[in-house]
Assembly symmetry: C2
Homo-oligomer: 347 residues x 2
């Protein structure tokens, strides 16, 4: 948990904006040189517009996909274009009657210090209800991903065995806690002993293991899940998910949320054929995007906020300070440097 003091003193209109644009399509893991920080003049506001000063940038694994020149579920970011991403910031000037200076809003204006907006896609936040940065995490996209992805795709029942990969990440850490609330037994897979300890000691996971120091995932999973696995919430893919196929129960449900182990591969790697495992177990594997559930976000935010208030959902943020460090933060989230939600705090 982390509390934030927000200064809402009016500041003069800045003349210049700085933003990160894509300088090169990454080969493998992105490098800082794949981004370029450019300056541009900030035009005066027109009627209906507001000026936003960014306070927090969200940094998420999906961004790697947008840097590739291939359309998947969304258009790619092209060379020279602004890096996309969720943002929280302050309205510092308003010529739009729906907004007043000093308001804190969440939106998707990307990696820039300021943004001119007509207000569409912005949601005002009440800093007294929850720290504004949570709008990028537990009460934002990752929280909704965990809530709807797990409950709707996995359809968990009390007493079932749930395994989460990428369990210490922004989404995985919430999935495990929602699973505990629903009466499941939860096993997490993460990339460090510290993360494993956090999952078990603070978040209430029943078990967890460090995949980086585990030689045989199948054996480890069989030890921790002697009765098999009913739900698998997958953030990573690759060898961890291969192993899961050997331990799923009849009518298991696999929610495919992310495949971060695959994003930086120069070419797709082969794996064991999945369909035969699904066939013999009458099991289901389903991919989803959080935006499939966009109409129900108010319900999800309300429920997650209630659980937070009741102490049933905890969250952690890994804060990287300084706009200049945004590329490094993204490289970090793709390397598993974060525990919980990775956020860039503007200085």
């Amino acid at each position: 948990m982390r509390f934030i003091m927000t200064a809402t003193t009016a500041k003069p209109h800045p003349g210049t904006n700085r933003k990160f644009v894509l300088a090169a399509r990454p080969v493998g893991m992105p490098k800082e040189s794949d981004f370029e920080l450019v300056s541009e003049p900030l035009p005066p506001l027109k009627d209906g517009q507001i000026l936003l000063r960014t306070q927090y940038l969200s940094v998420d694994p999906y961004m790697r996909g947008r840097m590739t020149g291939v359309r998947s579920y969304a258009d790619p970011v092209n060379i020279g274009q602004l890096m996309v991403g969720g943002t929280v910031g302050e309205v510092i000037e308003s010529r739009n009657s729906a907004f007043v200076a000093g308001q804190i809003v969440v939106g998707f204006w990307g990696w820039q210090e300021f943004a001119v907006s007509d207000g569409s896609g912005l949601r005002p936040l009440d800093p007294n209800l929850a720290p504004p940065s949570t709008a990028l995490g537990v009460l934002g996209m990752p929280g909704m991903t965990a809530y709807f992805g797990f409950l709707e795709i996995c359809q968990p029942k009390a007493g079932e065995i749930v395994v989460v990969s990428g369990a210490a990440g922004a989404v995985g850490s919430l999935v495990g806690q929602v699973a505990k609330i629903k009466g499941c037994k939860v096993v997490g897979i993460a990339g460090s002993d510290e993360k494993v300890a956090w999952l078990k000691d603070e978040l209430g996971f029943d078990a967890a293991f460090n995949y980086k120091t585990t030689s045989d995932f199948v054996v480890r999973l069989q030890q921790l899940c002697p009765n098999g696995v009913d739900c698998y919430f997958d953030n990573v893919g690759g060898a961890v998910s291969d192993a899961m196929l050997s331990v799923i129960n009849t009518k298991a449900r696999i929610a495919i949320c992310g495949q971060v182990s695959q994003y930086n591969l120069a070419k797709p790697e082969p794996g064991p054929r999945v369909f035969r495992y699904l066939l013999t177990k009458s099991a289901r594997a389903e991919g989803f995007l959080v935006y499939n559930f966009a109409e129900r976000f108010p319900e999800g935010v309300a429920q997650m906020a209630k659980w937070m208030k009741e102490g049933k959902i905890k969250y952690r943020e890994t804060i990287v300070e300084g706009f200049e460090n945004a590329p490094r933060a993204l490289i970090g989230v793709l390397s598993g440097d974060n525990t919980g939600k990775m956020i860039v705090q503007m200085c």
Copy 2:
């Protein structure tokens, strides 16, 4: 369509039964020497028992799995044990008040000329309503597999694009016709030009192609499905299913019914990782067994019979004559020799 004359004249109790037992676990494609035809005395009936004379044996791809010494969803057939399988036959003697001599019943008494039964698991057939062999095909396990597997797992909507692999088989040929009834556009994948012609000219598939003479499945699928694929009903797996992953639409549903291309592999072959395709398309792949829907079989049989009567569902049987040829028939079904349902007719 095929009509059968049934002789119900009482015959003397035979003294000897002949049955096929598993002689060796197959390596790769089964060989005839993996089976042994053995004779055994047939005991006199006890109270409550009936004696059955087999008329038809069902021969199905799933049987290959039972010959492997590994438990998947069902126990394997052990060396020296009777080969399992669906059967149609005549009650030739009854000491059970629920059955009378001359009745035709469908059951699961395996590869043998006669069977002593207490009647459990048997369903009487009315030969005036439909040829008894259809109880092993369109009105039996393959019919229910097509009906429930396609409708429940694929959840097709009118106007959607459906692709069926193994399209000229017992299940696939019915799936395509059910899809047409539901208003879908249907493309079949089969293993000969004759099968392709049958699918298009007789069964009303919108398109079909011969995978054995097609060099690039993705290109062919893109030609035939320029708007992508919404439902894929998979009987074969392997390279055909790999190609499908490149052409599925957002929210596509893949029903995994069989993976016959994989059953005879000495060791599992790798393939492209599937999860990332499912993720970017919010798509679902789900395995199923027809017995998951056992409670609803009466509904399925009634609907398929109605469609048959209305001429909306056609079927074909590939009949192998002679009990001794049952192993050859199974090898044939695993090699794609059949069009429609493969059946062994006892002589």
